[in-house]
Symmetry: C2
Subunit: 194 residues, 2 copies
């Protein structure tokens, strides 16, 4: 069967719910007549999505944060990110998260890509942006302890991958996409960009 | 506080459970005395983890699959992947998934990296491998409809990203890592590799 015959979704049920998560069961009929029940995870009340920021204090470096990751019970290195609050747009949310997590605001925020986490069984999407022309400004966040902010050369992704604490798929994807975009830009530079 | 003072985890509670998912609440005390309750998602009974395969039918191309993604209710392009069954090792699981989803076995399977999905609130990890020296062999899988297998030049990631259906962060990360690894290898080729 071809993907042109899109599956039809029948009954939807909510089957589990917590403060952060909700699990739904979907009855799905494929175009060849096969029927399946799919479970998927939704963000409980976080309908506006999330934002991840590739923040560059200069044309060669990116800001990464070290944060306790309760899912794996270890500190992990990743990009600053967070949930878009109700009423916020992507740029506003990105600039707030950057000030809360890294102590910087950005004069320029531009879209890079929208990523999914595990689209087979999660509804989650995250908007990745690039932030440039940074200036120091801190907003109080809700972190239980201050995050450690590190500055790394964006050309050193291979070195980051060997550290052992930089393993979050979507952050790695975002960094590679930003690096390739910057390489293209350096091939035809716009002197006003930085 | 420094990450050397690792948070202490107190009480753990199971607060929601479905066929695929389980949600736990952890009481966590940080080294500065701050206390928080974290919710995290675990794979219900999928303790052996998962595997994702960068399968290369020749030195320049990679196999991608088009599969219905119930989380976003769209077909999505991604790498072949699946859960490691009880008793399987990573290589066995990768070779099984590749035969089920793409109709190929691999004579060489080597580790590339281990990725997390969202380590702040998920325990999920996936082992990414590179599969080479492929041969045609199909195993029946449990897919509701045949997957569409596409062959793409691994140097064309930028073109894939503009398609609109290639957005899964960990698959994009895996493809970039494989591409960079192959570029290094081509700089110092081993004639026996393919």
């Amino acid at each position: 069967m071809s993907p042109s015959g899109k599956p039809e979704i029948g009954r939807r049920r909510s089957i589990a719910r917590s403060r952060l998560f909700a699990v739904e069961a979907l009855e799905i009929e494929f175009s060849n007549g096969e029927q399946r029940t799919f479970e998927r995870l939704t963000s409980n009340g976080q309908g506006a999505g999330a934002v991840m920021i590739v923040a560059m204090p200069d044309p060669d470096h990116v800001l990464l944060i070290q944060e306790y990751a309760a899912g794996i019970e270890e500190y992990a290195l990743t990009l600053p990110k967070g949930v878009i609050d109700p009423g916020e747009d992507i740029v506003t949310a990105a600039n707030r998260e950057l000030r809360e997590e890294c102590g910087y605001g950005a004069r320029v925020i531009e879209p890079l890509i929208e990523l999914t986490l595990a689209p087979n069984y999660m509804t989650h999407r995250i908007h990745v942006v690039m932030a440039t022309q940074l200036y120091e400004e801190r907003l109080p966040g809700d972190e239980p302890e201050p995050l450690i902010v590190e500055k790394h050369a964006i050309e050193d992704i291979e070195a980051l991958l060997t550290r052992g604490d930089f393993h979050e798929g979507r952050a790695i994807a975002a960094l590679f996409i930003a690096r390739d975009r910057l390489r293209e830009r350096q091939a035809s530079p716009d002197p006003m960009f930085w």
